[in-house]
Subunit: 359 residues, 2 copies
């Protein structure tokens, strides 16, 4: 089957920080992206806007976008207000009529839209709503603690600090060492990149841990290592329930703590900030204590996001984090992921010995 | 408006331990219950079966039940397998045709059943699905920390240990002292008893804390004290996400830790037990640490469930819990809730002083 070719809608909000889904798909699958639709930056290249992505064009209309020959149109940002704008609905209708599939991670499902669904059926196209939860989820029962592969979960000091990116960088680095490594996607962007997964924040609350357990059991097949994409933060006033359900449901053997260095308050991009981010060492203590209440786990490395810092400041931040926590620390996007890769490989050796697992 | 009169369906599972919803409604609103439908214990009184509830009859058919003149039929147990049995659906249809409303806390909504909904419409009756979440929930933003009343949340060592019952017992005791006390229901049974609330385990995972925040803001009106019904346990492999979302969303000023003394493993009634319940002092540490990561809180009392113990053993357990934790400890159903009532009243005085709230 040939690779899909995506036209990504990021209209009105295509930029290095905000359009996380669009940017991550472009970063990890640049050859699959034929264009981005954004009227504000139309005429530029993705490289101009994001600093990566080379010559992928940004276009200003759905017609120009469809002329690039996509096989699917992907929603790459959350529209302002959360609802699907009428304008976008019209674009999506044209895309279906032009023979494209639709891919979306919105809370509102495109497949629930009667007009879009009717057009999809008529044209033999599929609508993939990444946040639509599986219907056969169970209450978690701690089954994930029994899998053979070494399970690593990224945890964070806040939302949107690099928990998914960390795992994607580590997945390729561990594979390059010959370790069979499966990335387990728990959010829409990860699902778009990996092709499977469950948005654990979109399931009914009773089933968060059950969804995580199910994902780890599936990710454990033919793997030496399972890297689970983390969500939220254990002290996030809005999302901590998802974070803890994921932590207890996935039963990780080790944690990697992710932090964006310049962030000072929880959720400061969205609302008036009031909750200061405590020191990294406090997070280590919190995550280990609460995680180990179900399955023994420990933080084995620190992953920093230094996207808005100079090289020197970023390097200093890594040193400071290592000093504070006594753990290997790096920015695996800017620098070398090796310190974290080494930590995972080393801890996995101990784990294999402890559990008596055959290599 | 006259009080409703309930016929409660508990067919096949009416007993002191398992039929929690039926039993709690009978305990707190005995005058509203005209009968229980259970073919296994039909012919007995509720007193015979539960040890309370006096002469309320248990009947063996829907016809006998409807002859008792209920205004509503309530589902009082979870049917085996979770799905609505066809037999029950037929009973509910007859109840609607006889002019009754329906009240249910099942995960599957009765109002989604075309036949039942059609009959309800035809007869001008309402179907109340207590687990159907509100459609206007927001992501929590820590707003509950700003309310004036003193907010107390019950937390537990496991599910089904008495977190709702504790708050209901304390609500009446605090009201009797002249303190305006609102009980905030977060599960189906609490909603049935109180008449309003949200089943926080039934909302989409992203909105657990938002649902809790919304409930506290509503419960804070005209109140000196808000008592929030807790859910699950912070170390429950399946439900901890709901527990933490509720803890962070409701921003309690104080916690009461609930435990069923003879329980040794998490969830031991449901699955093969594997996770031992740690000591109470460990729970105090866990809940205070993780709760205070969003809003400062502390455990101020221990509430024991000793339903299956002798008076002497129960008394000894209360002493042991007080000894271990240094906190007032009682079983507020078997003994006197006063130790916990005193603890709440005392801590509220400190809180008022600290916050400079006018009495």
């Amino acid at each position: 089957m040939p690779d899909p070719r995506y036209l990504i809608i990021a209209d009105g909000n295509f930029d290095p920080l905000e359009s996380k889904t669009a940017n991550s798909v472009i970063r990890y699958h640049p050859t699959r992206v034929v264009g981005v639709l954004d009227r504000l930056t139309a005429g530029k290249t993705v490289q101009d806007v994001l600093g990566f992505g080379r010559s992928i064009p940004v276009v200003g209309s759905i017609e120009e976008g469809l002329a690039l020959g996509p096989t699917a149109v992907m929603i790459g940002i959350a529209p302002a207000g959360g609802r699907l704008p009428d304008e976008w609905r019209a674009w999506l209708g044209k895309a279906l009529d032009a023979g494209c599939d639709l891919i979306s991670g919105l809370h509102t499902f495109l497949s629930d839209d009667p007009d879009l669904q009717a057009r999809a059926t008529k044209n033999g196209r599929t609508i993939f709503d990444a946040r639509k939860p599986p219907t056969d989820l169970l209450i978690a029962a701690g089954e994930a603690r029994l899998v053979d592969p070494f399970v690593v979960l990224t945890v964070g000091t806040d939302c949107n600090v690099g928990k998914m990116t960390a795992q994607l960088q580590l997945t390729s680095a561990l594979k390059a060492r010959g370790l069979r490594t499966n990335f387990v996607a728990t959010g829409q962007t990860g699902i778009f990149i990996e092709g499977w997964g469950t948005a654990v924040d979109a399931v009914v609350a009773d089933f968060i841990a059950g969804a995580a357990e199910d994902l780890v059991l599936r990710g454990a097949e033919n793997a030496d290592i399972v890297l689970v994409e983390g969500q939220g933060s254990i002290n996030h006033p809005g999302y901590s329930g998802v974070t803890l359900g994921l932590l207890h449901g996935s039963c990780p053997d080790a944690l990697i703590l992710c932090h964006q260095v310049t962030r000072k308050h929880i959720g400061e991009f969205r609302r008036e900030p009031w909750l200061r981010i405590p020191p990294l060492s406090r997070y280590v203590e919190l995550y280990e204590m609460i995680g180990s209440a179900v399955h023994p786990t420990k933080v084995i490395g620190i992953c920093l996001n230094t996207y808005d810092m100079t090289d020197d400041a970023a390097r200093a931040a890594c040193h400071a984090a290592a000093e504070e926590t006594g753990l290997p620390s790096t920015d695996p996007v800017r620098f070398d992921p090796t310190p974290l890769v080494n930590a995972i490989a080393r801890e996995r050796e101990n784990y294999i010995e402890r559990r008596g697992i055959r290599r």
